[in-house]
Symmetry: C2
Subunit: 228 residues, 2 copies
């Protein structure tokens, strides 16, 4: 049987997994709200983001309390510090889902997404949901190997993002500037969502291997070389 | 005379101040590069971002080492944890300056900024430089009162951001979609830069008052109610 401290550490991990579940659900619903111009769904994503924020707050309070009371070292210290970083990433993913939902709400009763971009946005939503769900599994299983495959998963998001921007900048674009602005922001939100999922994965690698590598600290976006 | 541990804590603070100085310089130069289509300046911002990344890495390694070796509690623990959060904010500010510089490089030899938006972008750059410089002073002086005025400083950025988006979405917009996409992203980068400076300020408030408030944890953007 584990002692109380290690049970606390396990509960940090459980909370992180639950946060990824909420972020996955938020982004899936935000994508549907955006594509279907569903104002009720959009509102629910916007309102429920506070649940992820609260979980982050509770997790961080708990983590600081563990640092103060238990004074962990080595692996245990890494677990606590890494949990705080992951909670920041996942909370931000919730914010990004909320941003997508806000664009859905802003354009209601119309859909912000023109017909010729629906397939791209749908796929970005699906990749986002898949990648954050995988991040949750990686945290739960402390699976560094699976974590290391997540950059590849995120490449699919980067490809879709590039495709979206190329489409926007095509001379044949006929949907006006307002829609271009909306789609630029939406594209950025999905891309950043993927980046934060990759950050989470990197932190699991750090947790398991104990090695500091600059790539595990800096933002994933750092090393991309997209047009922007 | 201070003991070695408290000298280490002071040096964390000094490093954070130095990081804000680098971020201020990066954003000032990125703004000039963007407005003047100065490719050399843009390249230097892009290349030098690694200096901020390295400082963050060093600071975080130092902070974790202090947690492990000194096992700080109470105020000292708050200083270490808060320093790690601030370093993440400021590193991200450097990334955002780099993003602005990348748009300057992408559109070279042209300026990405149309004539009728030059004044707005110039002001966004100036507000960004002012706010991050103030964040540096606030860290150096542990000045919670000044920190609490920084949300107001950031309101100027939010106003400019709103003005920019209104301009982009005006029917009279005549600069095409590519420029609209560029300006949408640039506007977002400046706005986020301001948000991170406000986050830094909030963390100083936490450091001084020792009170956890949700607003000190969640992203500043959280409470804004802009169109997007």
């Amino acid at each position: 049987m584990r002692d109380a401290f290690h049970e606390d550490l396990d509960s940090l991990s459980d909370q992180l997994v639950e946060m990824t579940r909420l972020a996955a659900s938020a982004m899936a619903r935000a994508t549907t709200a955006l594509l279907d111009a569903d104002i009720t769904l959009a509102e629910s994503v916007i309102e429920n983001d506070v649940r992820i924020d609260d979980m982050r707050e509770q997790l961080d309070i708990k983590a600081i309390d563990l640092l103060a009371r238990q004074q962990p070292v080595a692996t245990d210290l890494r677990i606590v510090v890494t949990a705080m970083r992951m909670s920041a990433d996942i909370e931000r993913m919730g914010d990004l889902a909320r941003h997508v939902a806000k664009i859905a709400r802003l354009r209601f009763p119309h859909s912000a997404v023109p017909a010729d971009l629906r397939a791209t946005i749908l796929q970005m939503g699906q990749v986002a949901e898949r990648i954050v769900t995988k991040a949750g599994s990686v945290i739960a299983a402390k699976d560094a190997e699976a974590a290391m495959t997540m950059e590849r998963d995120d490449d699919a998001m980067d490809d879709l993002h590039r495709e979206l921007y190329e489409h926007l900048q095509d001379e044949k674009w006929q949907h006006g500037t307002e829609t271009a602005v909306d789609m630029t922001l939406v594209g950025r939100y999905y891309e950043r969502f993927g980046d934060h999922a990759v950050s989470v994965a990197r932190r699991v690698v750090f947790l398991v291997t104990g090695e500091w590598e600059p790539e595990q600290l800096t933002d994933h976006e750092e090393r991309e070389d997209s047009a922007h």
